[in-house]
């Protein structure tokens, strides 16, 4: 992970030691592991489902699954990667269950072009996203992404994971991770443009109404 580095304060149990003790059923070690990673897992869940109650539920479920399997952890991959893999699976499973029909991974990442998915008009006169992007608008757009795009976008652009880590978390190739991220950003750009156009239309309408009242 490039962006965020965790700092362990002196006297705190190192992660490797906490894993060893948790494998033996030590309560303080479980808590230590939870405290080391809870924020990122909660953040991932929150960004994915956009609902605090559900994010809490999913965070608990992800850690529960992790602690149930902790005795099998042999350190082949980074602990946080393993945990995030579990968390992403828990979230995607929940989102699949929520959708009316069973969705394949492709359906969770590729918008259905025949059913009027986003259409790109290359070379058309283009709006530019003015100024910096508002956090609320961005989150609203992220909420509209298909789950697969959303997961890669949140892991890479929000949480700072590298493509090789995401490939391990999502069980896909590095190329696939890059491609999903690119598509996610392009879709976000379209969604942000749409919201800009909607706002401009509303502003014009409001100005027209105000003019008519004069």
């Amino acid at each position: 992970m490039a962006r965020v580095r965790r700092i362990e304060t002196p006297g705190e149990l190192p992660e490797s030691e906490a894993i060893r003790l948790a494998q033996a059923g030590n309560a303080a070690a479980f808590e230590r592991l939870y405290r080391l990673h809870n924020r990122r897992v909660y953040s991932l869940c929150l960004r994915m489902v956009g609902n605090t109650a559900e994010a809490e539920d999913l965070t608990q479920e992800a850690f529960l699954q992790l602690f149930r399997k902790i005795a099998t952890f042999r350190g082949e991959s980074a602990f946080s990667t393993w945990l995030h893999r579990l968390a992403v699976n828990v979230v995607l499973m929940r989102l699949r269950k929520k959708s009316a029909t069973e969705s394949s991974l492709d359906e969770m990442t590729e918008p259905d072009e025949e059913s009027g998915g986003p259409r790109r008009d290359f070379g058309m006169p283009d709006l530019r996203l003015s100024g910096s992007i508002d956090r609320v608008n961005l989150q609203r757009a992220v909420d509209q992404l298909p789950p697969g795009y959303k997961a890669v976008f949140v892991l890479h652009d929000v949480q700072g994971y590298e493509h090789n880590e995401i490939a391990e978390i999502m069980d896909c190739s590095i190329g696939n991770s890059k491609s999903q991220l690119h598509k996610a950003r392009m879709r976000l750009r379209e969604l942000l443009h749409e919201s800009m156009r909607d706002k401009a239309r509303e502003d014009r309408k409001a100005a027209g109404n105000a003019g008519g009242e004069d």
Partner: protein
């Protein structure tokens, strides 16, 4: 030099921040296209803005609420994954460890006054309208399953503390007993509030807080 159209360019473009070692946009045809195409220039700029805005999102994320851990711990205990639960005779250290104290530095009269104030605050704070939500029972079950082990541990800690005391009480111990009584009342008030409004996050936070205050008092009692 092969020409590049917008579709090709936008389809394969990578932000330099994503792959610092590649010199994107690489070949001359791409550079020429970029020079002549305002649409693709704005495309690059927008993607950079999206990436920068996304990086700010993590910092704005809220802390996960304490109840997730309480609930998780209760589940771990229930499933037998935690195998070193505190012994029947609790020591000061585990009480302190389990409920990191916030009030230990305060003089006892301040504590008693504080608890009374908290009692009044919660009485006012929780007297709002009841939200009707479908998952009331789920919240109630979740809260009960997460608080019952804490409550049981505190009761056993309390018994152990009292059994080790001499018959005659010092004024300080008497004051602690008085505070314990206040906190017990506070706990039952919070428990009632949670039962009435299981989905009220504030009520559940107060309940956990009340348990923590009791644990703190027991730790002080042990130190006497």
């Amino acid at each position: 030099m092969a020409t590049v159209n917008c579709k090709d360019f936008q389809g394969r473009f990578e932000l330099p921040e994503d792959s610092p070692r590649s010199s994107s946009p690489g070949d001359l045809s791409v550079q020429a296209h970029l020079r002549d195409c305002p649409s693709c220039r704005s495309f690059i700029e927008d993607l950079g803005k999206i990436r920068a805005a996304a990086a700010q999102l993590l910092a704005s994320d809220p802390e996960p609420p304490a109840r997730i851990w309480f609930s998780l711990r209760a589940e771990l205990e229930k499933e037998g994954l935690i195998r070193d639960t505190p012994s029947k005779t609790p020591s000061k250290s585990w009480v302190r460890e389990l409920f990191s104290g916030r009030f230990t530095a305060l003089p006892r009269p301040v504590l008693a006054g504080g608890y009374l104030a908290a009692l009044l605050a919660i009485a006012f704070g929780l007297s709002g309208p009841i939200n009707s939500r479908i998952n009331r029972q789920r919240w109630l079950d979740g809260t009960q399953s997460s608080t019952e082990p804490l409550s049981a541990q505190l009761t056993s800690a309390e018994k152990a503390s009292f059994s080790s005391f001499p018959a005659s009480e010092s004024p300080v111990t008497a004051s602690l007993h008085q505070n314990l009584e206040i906190v017990d009342n506070y706990i039952s008030l919070c428990e009632n509030s949670v039962r009435e409004e299981p989905e009220n996050e504030l009520a559940r936070e107060y309940l956990y807080e009340a348990y923590q205050q009791k644990a703190d008092l027991l730790a002080q009692l042990n130190e006497q």
